[in-house]
């Protein structure tokens, strides 16, 4: 009996081994590589699936439901495209989109100009480039809540660092930055520029470092000025970097965190971007309509993707 069982186990193991060898040979023949490689990437795939792919999929499904967090039994109340229809009659969607577009127009060009300028300057420094690279990246690594609370104090109309110094310079009535409808959005946008210029600066630096210096030498020999070298050599060769930065900054939901922490959408809804509105509908207002918010999120995702596609088409290499 025992020898029968042993024979049985041995033959099973042998069969499995044979199967494994055949599978390996077949997969290698098809160019799929070593199947054990898939085992190595399986944990990363699982993490991606659980924390990225699944939420995207779940959000997509949720956008077709009338799920209200206050009522757990509404989780699977499918309502077709009603959420998308409601968006057309929701005044705050249009209002939020306008605020978000203004935000993008304020932040993106400013970040690109500032970071390009800094990258060019740092690339020309003979000593201490590492130190300057560290300095420009510091704002990026600060926790966002810390940064925004710091700016909240900075912008305080009466006691803030900015207005105290403006009064010392003779400006008697400096703007009430976060309470003035004309200044609130630019003030918040500046916080994003401050937080966001570090990473593009490093990207531009990498792009500049990758440009062959012989091109500049040849241009100099031919009589090109510094400006000509910058405009005719540096800028065209940085096109891939521009594309990367523009695509990474293509999100339409910008301005959500600063408005959430500093102004709550005020003053007079001047900073109530579409991202903030989405957050409020999902987590603070009324029944907490997660289904409707998911639909708004889907709209934002489509708009962001369209914007990225626009940049690709505009800047693609010919």
């Amino acid at each position: 009996m025992a020898s029968d069982q042993t024979l049985d186990t041995t033959s099973r193991v042998a069969t499995l081994r044979t199967f494994g060898r055949v599978l390996q040979r077949e997969l290698r023949a098809k160019g799929w590589g070593n199947p054990f490689g898939y085992l190595f990437i399986l944990p990363a795939m699982l993490l991606y699936g659980v924390f990225s792919a699944w939420p995207i999929f779940r959000g997509f499904i949720m956008s077709f439901t009338d799920y209200r967090f206050l009522y757990p039994d509404s989780r699977w109340d499918f309502n077709g495209i009603q959420n998308f229809v409601d968006m057309f009659s929701d005044q705050w969607i249009g209002h939020g989109l306008i605020i978000s577009i203004k935000w993008t127009l304020l932040v993106q060009p400013t970040v690109i100009i500032v970071s390009l300028l800094l990258a060019v300057l740092i690339s020309r420094v003979n000593h201490g480039q590492g130190f300057y690279r560290w300095i420009v990246y510091l704002p990026t690594i600060l926790p966002i809540a810390v940064t925004l609370l710091m700016f909240g104090q900075f912008y305080n109309a009466r006691f803030g660092f900015l207005n105290v110094n403006l009064r010392n310079l003779g400006i008697d009535n400096p703007p009430r930055w976060l309470n003035d409808t004309r200044w609130a959005l630019p003030a918040l946008a500046f916080t994003d520029v401050w937080r966001g210029f570090g990473f593009p600066t490093l990207l531009f630096l990498i792009g500049i470092y990758n440009i062959n210096s012989e091109i500049y030498e040849a241009a100099a020999i031919d009589g090109a000025t510094a400006w000509h070298q910058f405009w005719r050599i540096t800028m065209p060769l940085l096109k891939p970097t521009f594309l990367l930065i523009l695509v990474l900054g293509s999100g339409i939901a910008g301005g959500t965190e600063p408005a959430l922490i500093l102004t709550s959408g005020g003053p007079q809804n001047a900073t109530r971007s579409i991202g903030l509105y989405l957050y409020q509908v999902a987590f603070t207002l009324g029944d907490m309509r997660l289904g409707y918010s998911a639909a708004v999120g889907l709209l934002l995702g489509i708009l962001s993707a369209l914007l990225s596609l626009f940049w690709f088409r505009l800047l693609k290499e010919r």
């Binding site: 098809k30 206050l70 009522y71 757990p72 003053p267 007079q268 987590f283 009324g286």
Partner: protein, 445 residues
């Protein structure tokens, strides 16, 4: 068949299969609702057993209510041990998720702010009523606790005729002031009316070394709502919304605008700025005065009650809210948790009563007033304040709070902005329309 598939086809099929499996796995799970909780039909067996009591306590309440001393005293006296935890992040979502998964750790929480949060917490199935547990409790003098709650407060702590919280202290809006600038303006006691506050602010401005005469702690509770309460008998309309379009509201906004035009009211400042000591008067949650006393000295600041349109005519009183300790649905030890709450705020626990009186302010129990407020000149303002609250109109228990503030705030900002034309009726009408629009999106009861 698989032999003939390309890699792309195989991966596509795998992704599609995973999606179908994931969708199929997402079947609706029964989540707890208020109706789903079994209401005990017989008196709950009362005992303070040796089972642990897992208690979630907000950090500021932990200090304001002397919770540490209370827990130590309880654990020394009773077999069931209280284990305290402090919340981090969004508590309600964590609790609701834990209840849905069936692995809620905590039994109760201090504090939920009623009445504006009550309906939401009940409808989400977060909390359960306390009546049966209170009735069955055998903690000494437990039967004295609920009857001793000031009646208006007890009504405000209830929903659909069930008690959902054991109140700790009562918050309301009142005037706080720094004594030095007010005394220089001729005010040794609280300015009581809108006119007196205006007069005091004017005199502070004339004698000022840069002190801001007047501010409010927050929009819209500490400015508009509080003044509406002080100027009308009916601050809530038939839809359960604060009557922002009524005569009292327009009068209040007009008064604020006048203060701003004369540079007496800096509407951009708030509670955080008051704590710096550079504001003469603030209309605020009525801890402003006591907090500045702790910072600048007992004689440097004072806390008073609300301000009123007419002398000796309190109209609807003052808006107030209750900081309540609540019992979670699916609590493992509900009897223990309620027993602890009843003992903590009961007549036998003097330490907490004294702490609330001196720090948190305005306790909710008549025995606490008799013990610590009556005859105490420093705390007399609390007696006045709680007497006003006892006759005040309370906020309705509904879901309008967040929606109201979202639309009233911007309307007020428009009225306060001197760069814009002043049309309070139009601004409030617009805000009201937006409120109605959002209310129409609510699920039918």
């Amino acid at each position: 068949m698989v032999d003939k598939w390309t890699r792309r086809q195989f991966l596509g099929a795998a992704a599609a299969t995973s999606a179908v499996v994931a969708l199929a796995a997402c079947k609706p799970t029964a989540a707890p609702t208020a109706e789903a909780v079994e209401k005990p039909t017989e008196p709950v067996e009362a005992s303070v057993t040796a089972d642990d009591i897992n208690f979630l306590c907000r950090t500021d309440i932990y200090q304001a209510y002397a919770a540490e001393a209370a827990v130590e005293a309880w654990n020394a006296e009773f077999p069931a041990k209280v284990i305290v935890d402090e919340p981090a992040g969004d508590l309600t979502q964590k609790v609701q998720a834990a209840q849905a998964a069936g692995d809620l750790v905590w039994d109760g929480y201090s504090v939920m702010e009623g009445p504006w949060a009550t309906m939401e917490w009940v409808e989400r199935g977060l909390i359960q009523p306390l009546d049966a547990y209170v009735e069955a409790s055998q903690i000494p003098n437990a039967d004295k606790v609920v009857p001793s709650i000031i009646e208006t407060i007890r009504e405000s702590a209830s929903y659909q005729d069930k008690l959902y919280g054991i109140p700790g202290n009562c918050g309301s809006v009142g005037l706080a002031w720094m004594t030095e600038p007010l005394e220089a303006a001729g005010y040794t006691d609280q300015p009581w009316t809108w006119d007196e506050v205006y007069d005091a602010a004017k005199k502070v401005q004339e004698g000022s070394t840069g002190t801001v005469p007047f501010a409010v702690a927050c929009r819209s509770l500490c400015d508009l709502y509080a003044l509406i309460w002080s100027a009308t008998d009916s601050p809530i309309d038939e839809d359960g919304v604060v009557d922002i379009r009524g005569e009292a509201s327009i009068a209040a906004v007009t008064w604020f605008r006048k203060m701003i035009e004369e540079d007496l009211f800096d509407w951009t400042l708030g509670f955080g700025d008051w704590l710096k000591g550079d504001i003469a008067m603030i209309h605020s949650y009525d801890v402003a005065g006591t907090m500045n006393q702790q910072t600048f000295g007992m004689d440097a600041a004072r806390q008073g009650v609300g301000i009123y349109r007419e002398p000796d005519d309190l109209k609807a009183g003052v808006p107030f809210w209750i900081n309540m300790s609540v019992l979670f649905n699916q609590a493992a030890n509900p009897t223990g948790m309620v027993d602890f709450f009843l003992w903590w705020f009961g007549p036998d626990n003097k330490t907490t009563g004294k702490q609330i009186t001196e720090v948190a302010a305005k306790p909710c129990y008549t025995y606490t007033y008799e013990e610590f407020v009556a005859g105490n000149a420093d705390q007399q303002w609390q007696q006045e304040a709680i007497d006003i609250i006892a006759d005040s109109t309370w906020f309705p228990v509904n879901r309008t709070w967040g929606i109201m503030n979202t639309h009233v705030g911007p309307a007020l900002e428009k009225c306060y902005d001197l760069g814009q034309p002043f049309e309070p009726e139009q601004a409030m009408e617009e805000a009201y329309d937006n409120i109605k629009e959002d209310l129409a999106q609510l699920r039918e009861e």
